[in-house]
């Protein structure tokens, strides 16, 4: 970016003007704001440190006595920072963001289509869910079993994702991104199943 600083007019290379120190219009990109390489595998502790560091610099509380334009920049910068931290600290939302930035939108792929290898299981699960909803609690053990199995699957996918993240960061092969997208879609589908089951198993989880 080679914008001129809004305050002193000098070419402003960074978030803060190198000449007068004024806060500039922040970048919209999450990785850019964090000053981080665009990577799928991130160290959570380093991310947290950077978040606190940037919060100290950018939060509106730090700009109480500054000109209006700088206060507005601060509000925008902090909101992007907070949104960025929320997105990047969770590997799943981070990967979704990463793919979206590269034109691989998860949203468009989202469908009710059952992954073929799960077809039979999902069919049986739906039967059990219906029985449970109708008040037949004999389906409970089956549901609990299904929940545990799907939760295991989620953990497995998470491990696979971790490997794919490192793989992509290393060589940046596009087919890895496609594989990640496939995993994310599968993960989302299974997560929805788990949520459905937990709704019918009261007292089993604190999730909302």
């Amino acid at each position: 970016m080679d914008f001129a600083c809004w305050q002193c007019g000098q070419a402003a290379p960074g978030l803060f003007c190198a000449h007068c120190g004024a806060l500039q219009q922040p970048p919209a990109g999450y990785f850019e704001l964090f000053g981080s390489e665009e990577k799928l595998a991130l160290d959570p502790a380093a991310l947290e440190r950077r978040f606190y560091e940037l919060s100290r610099q950018l939060h509106p509380d730090r700009f109480g006595r500054k000109p209006l334009i700088e206060r507005q920049h601060s509000e925008q910068a902090s909101s992007v920072l907070n949104d960025a931290y929320r997105t990047l600290r969770d590997p799943i939302t981070r990967a979704e963001y990463f793919l979206k930035q590269r034109g691989l939108d998860i949203g468009e792929q989202r469908s009710k289509d059952v992954p073929p290898e799960l077809l039979e299981e999902v069919f049986e699960l739906n039967m059990a869910l219906e029985e449970m909803r109708a008040g037949d609690t004999s389906a409970r053990p089956q549901l609990e079993q299904a929940r545990d199995r799907f939760t295991n699957m989620l953990e497995q996918i998470d491990r696979q994702l971790e490997n794919e993240f490192t793989s992509y960061d290393g060589a940046q092969r596009p087919e890895v991104l496609t594989a990640i997208r496939g995993l994310l879609n599968r993960r989302r589908y299974i997560q929805n199943l788990v949520n459905e089951v937990e709704k019918e198993l009261p007292g089993s989880a604190l999730s909302d």
């Binding site: 100290r56 939060h59 509106p60 509380d61 109480g64 006595r65 925008q76 931290y85």
Partner: protein, 615 residues
Amino acid sequence: MPFQIDFGGRKQERVVGIDLGTTNSLVAFMDLTAPKIIPGEDGDKLVPSVVSFSESGEIVVGNNARRLLITQPERTVYSVKRLMGRGAADIQEELKLFPFHMAEDSESVIKLRLGDVELTPPEISAYILRQLKKNAETYFGEPVTQAVITVPAYFNDAQRQATKDAGRIAGLEVLRLVNEPTAASLAYGLDKRKNGTIAVYDLGGGTFDISILKLHDGIFEVLATNGDTHLGGDDIDNLLIRIGLEDVASEWGMDVSGSQEAVQLLRRAVIQAKEELSFAPVATVAFEYRGRNYRREITRDLLEQLIAPIVERTMGPCRACLADAHVKVADIDEVVMVGGSTRIPFVRQAVEKLFRAKPHTELNPDEVVALGAAVQAAILSGDLEDKLLLDVTPLSLGIETMGGLTSKLIHRNSTIPASATEMFTTAVDGQRNVLIHVVQGERELVKDCRSLARFDLKEIDPMPAGLPRIEVRFLIDANGILNVTARDQRTGKEHSLEVKPSYGLNDEQVEAMILESYEKAEEDFRERQVREARVEADNILTALDKARQNEAWFELDGEERAAIEKPVNELLMVYHSDDHLLIRAKIDEVNEATTKLAENMMNSAVRGALKGTKI
């Protein structure tokens, strides 16, 4: 007058911290290193949040207004915070318990009828704020126009906006709304322990909040917050009042619940008994009305039975808050208690049991929020650079989509400022407007959420359906208040937006109220300064009259006397003007001209004293 340091002539305006409470309000400031409460005219640190409007048009706030609750209940309001940012439909329950009369045209904004005046809750709160502002101005001897005001963490957008409006109407620039539990954690200086996880349990007069924070080298990061904006000490009082009314009905054979005077007297009696029960096992409710007496002993056991359901209602939000923060009970290092109701031993026990930690109660639970607000005021002034608050939004923000469903844009417990961007387009060829309905809440259906506002994207260029692309940015600012901006993607220009708040005042209404009150407040302050200058002039003129009897006066020559009489005459001339600066300038001149006279008087006094010793 407080000690003041002159920072090279650049005098920064003071920012005060205000706790605008349901029962009491306080104002505080950062005094060099520690926050300090500013007492009112009567020396009391707590200003009861009670406002009374006399028949003669006089407005009374605080302790004096509280006394009028008994004699002038029709013209006196308390607990108005419960009505802030609420609609007429919301407060039907409140109206059963509180002697409020709603005015006829209370639709999106409630108006209360008090004798012959009709006022909105923000206007009534503004009177409380104005009193606090006045107390601070008297204390500092200079105008105060900037403040940090605290709000319950679980306040929604409309309730926050109403509080901000109240500040503006009172002539205060509200630099920040801070959540009460977060403010309390600042006051406790818990950052002395560098890192840790703390829970703040805040049960006030009318609201309940629970917040869980993570401390990290001076950063107070709120992980999650939960609460109930209609739960507090008032509810306990109402339970006790009901018992009293039932007793009176059976003992006297007389229903006094229709008499506001009786209910207010009984209210005062049960509050006293309730407070005593925090320190004694038994207390007496003593109530006298029209020559008849009612007395009843209440044991702590009975009180605990009565309030158990209320305390239990606070436990659900606590558990939900822990879950949202992804924190286990064992992770909580410290618990802080805030709000008068946490003085009740039963409440403390319940909190201790839940969090398995002995709660902090060192600071006065009535003062801790205001003290924290003063700390935040110092942070905003740039006087405290090592501390920073990162707060969250308590409720999810969404927009209405097809079929009355909500689509969540910003989830609850997101760190603020937080934002979301959505693209909007038209559904019909040539469509000129798009209406966006914004709601707050966790439920799936719009009807179960709280309507915030309707935003109208106007004057869209007529185009085939789906072609216009208008990017709308929803930003929840550091006060927890929603700001919406729209940009036309095609032209890159700001797109016009009309806001219709669902509850609360629109901008024009607030502006009108500000204008009205601003003039008044300015006038008030100027008037006080003029009065003070005149008092000082009186003092110096009286002293001079005395001096004219003194032998020192006769030691001056004619020229010297004339040099004194000139500024004195000038002071007399400006005495009745309303320019306090001019009066003070002349006082200074008189002071200067009388230096020699004062010296002579001193010398003659010494001579007199010496003479005295000779005798």
